[in-house]
Symmetry: C2
Subunit: 327 residues, 2 copies
Amino acid sequence: MNKWKEITEQIKAKSDIVIMTHTNMDGDAIGSASALCHALRYLGKRCVILLEDDIPYYLKFMHDHSNGGSDALPFFVYEMPYTPQLAIAVDCGDEYRIEKRLDIYRSCDTTICLDHHMQKGGFADLSVVDPKASATGLLVYQLINELKVPIDKEIAEDLFVAIMTDTGCFRYSNTTAECHLVAAELYKAGIEFDKLGTLIYDTVPLSQMKLESLIIQWMDLFEDGRAAVSYVTQEKLRELGATYDMTGSCIDVLRKIDTVEICAFLKESEDGSIKLSLRSKGKSDVLGIAQKLGGGGHPKASGGTLHVPIEEALSLVKKAISEELAR
Amino acid sequence: MNKWKEITEQIKAKSDIVIMTHTNMDGDAIGSASALCHALRYLGKRCVILLEDDIPYYLKFMHDHSNGGSDALPFFVYEMPYTPQLAIAVDCGDEYRIEKRLDIYRSCDTTICLDHHMQKGGFADLSVVDPKASATGLLVYQLINELKVPIDKEIAEDLFVAIMTDTGCFRYSNTTAECHLVAAELYKAGIEFDKLGTLIYDTVPLSQMKLESLIIQWMDLFEDGRAAVSYVTQEKLRELGATYDMTGSCIDVLRKIDTVEICAFLKESEDGSIKLSLRSKGKSDVLGIAQKLGGGGHPKASGGTLHVPIEEALSLVKKAISEELAR
């Protein structure tokens, strides 16, 4: 692909580079950015990853991981320590996901984008956008190979985290044979895949464990077990010491129950509004339910925001689910 | 390897075959047996898998899966419908794990064993025992290739389940690059890896979800969060409608808590004795704790049986854990 040649030429021509990734970072975002930063520093470039929001709690170890070593500059920064000539956006499909960094992004001579999201319109001089790629980590893997940078243990672990997290540990339907082939290649660098798996999937804060336990206690199972609804209030989150990002796993707890076809999780936001998540495991369409309640999404995963008290929201959601299951 | 040639020759020479696997079956046992049964039937052999205990609840779908099709004989049987000439033991390192089937096993003209456990002494005429193999499924994969049987979707899904479950979804330290390379090969047969992952990891009976929720409610976290102990009684299991095999996941729930170094789970058996499981995530040695209480195991995973009331058992275990953490 000629695009790769243009991109590697631009990288070779520039000495001061900045990497950016989308806000509300996940493992693919951090892993892809970090692997690329490692590779560019190997080539002698000055390079940092500029952030505008926090690394989520379950990926904090990636920060330690990538700040190790004797480099004078940290990998992750909130302010640019130099003026970059080249900006590379990874795993980012939209300018608004690097909103507070746009000035710096636009000030660069050249911009590059590597991404696997569906993009409405490009926002870089040179883009490789492949919605069929399971993870942006796979595109970064290809770029690093094009740059002829050897894949050491640190780069390999970053890329492994990117691929593992975006495929749900090789379980989501977006997983491809390529993910497994690249994983096998990354093993050659001596990655501690078991340690990474434990850190990402089997290391949970006590407050999150308590939250997940509470979700089951407060759950309302109805329609002969075909539907499950649960919720959490701001007061309870504070009592448990749980942060808002820990609520992300709650809908999956409900979804696991074998008899459940539709599940909903409601969380009270700080402003009192109710964030609704809906999932369907069967033939049911939860997009219709979300739309009825002013939300949107996909047939199997949808959501919305309700501006009523939590009790009323629960009652509205239950009614809409029962109607969908009766269809 | 010459052993493979001898094994394929024996298989080709025999028409009526029985496959056996270890009691207390797991995904590698069932997946390996089922894949091999498919392959042998493809070669025109009469073949069944003889069982002596139940398929565990989370693998019941493998039973449906492999009994599909138009074969007159089911895959899994509890009594032999014919007299076999050849017995093949898969994922079984010891005669005592096919104890109730030993007469039939020994009555065969030839016996073969494919296994990845450390074996004390062989118990088959022809054995391939490779403790370095991540799963017996990898050995069955090789045998099927040696037999030149094409790997169709059903065989591929059975082998995928075998490899996925024995490596903890490619996360345990026994995972190898080979597991990923074989997975990539199995994708070519169009396996529904996402459906299999959901069935095995994300389909949990309500009673088990309630049990896991309870474990956190009843948990005693002590030594500044470094130790966690929880338990379940027979009365509570009955109230939740949970079966004894559902308690298997409870120790892992405790183990996930980020601050926990040592955890213990106690379950009351029907005879009133207390089954103890112990795990260490850090440097602590839980073998010493188990030995103090009359049990055994390994430094990171141990257990035992206590013949005292549950309250007394909890107190004994907590004391022993505190002593270990104070060392």
